[in-house]
Symmetry: C2
Subunit: 397 residues, 2 copies
Amino acid sequence: MEINKNYKNLEASYLFSTIAKKVKEFAEKNPDKKVIRLGIGDVTRPLCKSVVEAMKKAVDEMGTFEGFHGYGPEQGYDFLKEKIQGYYKEKNVTLKLDEIFISDGAKSDLGNILDIFSKENTVLIPDPVYPVYVDTNIMQGRKIIFAQANQENNFLPLPNDDVKADIVYICSPNNPTGAVYNKEQLKKWVDWANKNNAVILYDAAYECFINDNNLPRSIFEIEGAKTCAIEFCSLSKTAGFTGTRCGYTVVPFELEFDDMSLNKMWLRRQTTKFNGVPYIVQRGAEAVFSEQGQKEIKENIDYYKKNAKIIADTLTKHNVWFTGGVHSPYIWLKCPNNMTSWEFFDFLLEKAQVVGTPGAGFGKNGEGFFRLTSFGTNELTKEAMERLDKMLTTYCK
Amino acid sequence: MEINKNYKNLEASYLFSTIAKKVKEFAEKNPDKKVIRLGIGDVTRPLCKSVVEAMKKAVDEMGTFEGFHGYGPEQGYDFLKEKIQGYYKEKNVTLKLDEIFISDGAKSDLGNILDIFSKENTVLIPDPVYPVYVDTNIMQGRKIIFAQANQENNFLPLPNDDVKADIVYICSPNNPTGAVYNKEQLKKWVDWANKNNAVILYDAAYECFINDNNLPRSIFEIEGAKTCAIEFCSLSKTAGFTGTRCGYTVVPFELEFDDMSLNKMWLRRQTTKFNGVPYIVQRGAEAVFSEQGQKEIKENIDYYKKNAKIIADTLTKHNVWFTGGVHSPYIWLKCPNNMTSWEFFDFLLEKAQVVGTPGAGFGKNGEGFFRLTSFGTNELTKEAMERLDKMLTTYCK
């Protein structure tokens, strides 16, 4: 038996283990100092009431003969797909029910979608980046090139006719940078993809953080996207589903390559290698899209946005350059005093006992940048920013 | 962009749609006749009380700050892995906690495990077979050869030194045939795999139906299996989790090929392309392994086994040759009067209004055989067998 040798090309990531180690060492040396974590990429607020009630009802159903649900459709129940169809309608995007696939999260589908593409394709990935895009392609042995995101383009790289690629990843609002494409910018990517016979894998996991109706919350708000894009979305950050697991993937019927419908290929992939999301979870997800559910999740999103604003205001006050923080739970800042990412990590931990994530961990263009997140509590975020304020006043004039 | 052209080699399966069409036509022509379905591959009894209570508690937790669970470990929570470790201990199999991976079901992992193997491997699959083994390999372009299961070997093919293969699928108790390997037979496969540097993918999804302590419920009961086998198990049939989705995969630390640990490779695959099973579902699965949970699920399994016995007794009475029905929810019978699978399907529907699954749908060696399942109610199974009894008495002496 031979293993898939591509796995030998994967690099181990020590980003989060190194952070944990450094924080542990600091805490041991300074037992009296309270460390505040603003590096966390996970939500902290509980599931909202509507979701809890819906799931308890579904669990009860599963305990009765009449309400028991066995194997469901691999692509998800219509009751949930219809809600998502309606959610897109609000963004003026018309989808057919069978263009929507319920998933156990954007991460799974972003990785698994590669099953339907040839290994011979070249992949274009922005740098800095969510590492999963890179690793899933290394696992399949694809050639990877990078789109340079940097301070000059506000971490929003645009297509270039010289670049030849078959599969392009776009994440907007972006993880880790929080930067958001506007419609004109996204249109450039769509036009480029259609012209170059490329497919865009659009990660919209943070769409719910967008405040401005002029900014696109779905790539399908852009004309021409249905012939070149697949969209991945998730309830993880929208409704606190990181531990409950539900998302959705939109594969338009118009997507055809080599006489094959990508929608039909993905359906075949999912019916063969997936058995659907738990009935209970789909009922919880359905409740997210109810009127009351939308109200409740908005309270949580607003809570996180308030944190983002506290962070952004502190940075603005000190003229620290950053992206994100408005339409995103992430704030991506340029390290003061030209520090490297890890220098600033140590400095921030030492002087303010605040933990964030070094940008260098997300790719070479992340060097000199730093990510803070708004998923903590209001109280701790405020306290952390008071400390940062003091630190910047003292050391970074 | 180029698609994965292997998808063009997939054959569309019309098995279940053809069955549905034939039944619909019959029902329309014979509105007064009650059709009984014994073709169903899904459980019908509700989740047991312990599971319902545990999941409701978990949902409540998720609605509180203290009890909320965000991202969990991709490979599953220790509280569940420890229970599974204990479950294996009862079979005298000692596993380390990190050899156990919690999955959303055997189907997903049986397909996804192929990610860690080279496309150059040759795969050995029994015929007849659960079609997922075949299709997932076609999708990746592997060479497939078949192990011939037939009446002569009681649908339990044994290894042959002339056959060269790198990956072997074994499902015991088998779907669709219900046949079960004994320890001596399984030892032959283990020895063959170790000798030929092959890996066995062991599908143990129906292990809970085994009544006899001398029959292996895990391949790891066989000496030498830890250097050649990966085991896939599921709560789908064990605890009625077909719509709740939880299983587990065991990848021993001893499994090494080309200086790579398959356990580490699978861990990397899962942490990159999977986000774990919902916390709520893992709490439900934990309850399955409690003392009370085991008692409750046993009642359901015994219920299905009672059905299997009713079917088996009817066939025995009429000297119809069959496998399964004792240690399996499936009964695989030789069609009477040398009918083909579809001839018998039509005959059974016409004369007894009973629906089953033509064996020919599971591979060429399934021709002339037929699958009945025990997942219906006692009442309907009894009624169906009274009709079958009458039919066999009248037409198949």
